[in-house]
Amino acid sequence: MYAQLVQSEGGKSRAEMTPREIAFQERIDRGEKIEPKEWMPEGYRKTLIRQMGQHAHSEIVGQLPEGNWITRAPTLERKAILLAKVQDEAGHGLYLYSAAETLGVSRDELMEMLHSGKMKYSSIFNYPTLTWADMGAVGWLVDGAAIMNQVPLQRTSYGPYSRAMIRICKEESFHQRQGYDIMMKMCAGTPEQKAMAQDALNRFWYPSLMMFGPSDKDSVHSAQSMAWKIKMNTNDELRQKFVDQTVPQAKYLGLTVPDENLRWNEEKGGHDFSEPDWAEFFEVIAGNGPCNAERLGARVKAWDDGAWFRDGLMAHAGKQEERRAALRLAAE
């Protein structure tokens, strides 16, 4: 998912809660939505800012690996589709930033936290996109994993977050389908094209499994987030669902999932599979993945290079406003 290792604040037992906090928890338990100006525990607010901020940053940084292929898409139609997909991701970032801002953090503050490394984005976007088949693998696997996480979040307790997720989910299935469509074409192509598709799957399989984050079944943070309904499932549940959904899709393509331990387990009604390399995951999160410096560098450069433009438009808007005020005065 797009929010990994989000530390939640709180974790109070019922006995430690104030009456106000108990009433708040009861509203959530009843399925009520919490809206921006309503009272909420400070921990709920802070945890949400962290999670939504990380989610928004992931949408924005997530444009970079795909943006890499816009000018090199194999056909004009593929180029238009990829452009539309990447533009959607910009939209997703904007919905989520706006939703986070209702909690009292400003857009500039969120940007600053991304650029300084104080806030993270999903580890998946620190991997390179080396061939056109990677556009297929990203849509199919990365958007597929994101959907796994985003669909239940439509029911999250915070109103603006829930509404943003509903909009996002409506747009995501196009993303996954266009990716799978690329994979189908590659797999029906020449042996070299099929080999490229297999290579893309090989490289994106484990990083996709990492998107859900390490097992959190014993984590207090996760338990608190789940009580607040800002996390709806454990990381393991979602990862299992993702594997079970994806394995038959790979089979249809005639591709091999790069895991020799992968097999159907009749008893649990799901696949057994190998865990990704969590040491690698923590390295990537710590900033040492293959593309961390490049991704963050591109974001900081875009922000810095755009400063004159943002300031210019503000100055223009200010002047227009002054002119209108002068005209109003003259008319009086």
């Binding site: 100006k37 533009q87 400003s106 747009e171 503000m314 223009h316 808007a317």
Partner: protein, 94 residues
């Protein structure tokens, strides 16, 4: 440090004959750019036939703490609903 673009609330009329509905917000330097950005952010799939942009600062909202005094008075006025009145079947549709 640059000054942040103000926040606008965006309302979209989805189809002719429907009300404008709040869909979210965005930052823009002025009204014209707010409409343009809203077109790109909120209507990429034919979601609208008309856009309103209102500066968030200009919106006056009722406060959650007033919920009781504002809305409870209407709870007791059930006679405002047609179902409060029993009309015999013989009278026909009313």
């Amino acid at each position: 440090m640059s000054s942040e673009w103000p926040l606008w609330e965006i309302f979209i009329r989805g189809q002719h004959g429907l009300n404008h509905r709040h869909v979210g917000s965005l930052h823009a330097p002025d009204a014209e750019m707010a409409i343009r950005n809203a077109r790109d952010v909120y209507t990429r799939r034919n979601e609208g036939v008309s856009i309103w942009a209102v500066k968030s600062n200009d919106i006056v909202a009722s406060s959650p703490s007033e919920k009781g005094p504002l809305f409870e008075p209407s709870n007791s006025k059930v006679y405002r609903h047609p179902t409060f009145f029993d009309i015999p079947d013989e009278v026909g549709h009313m």
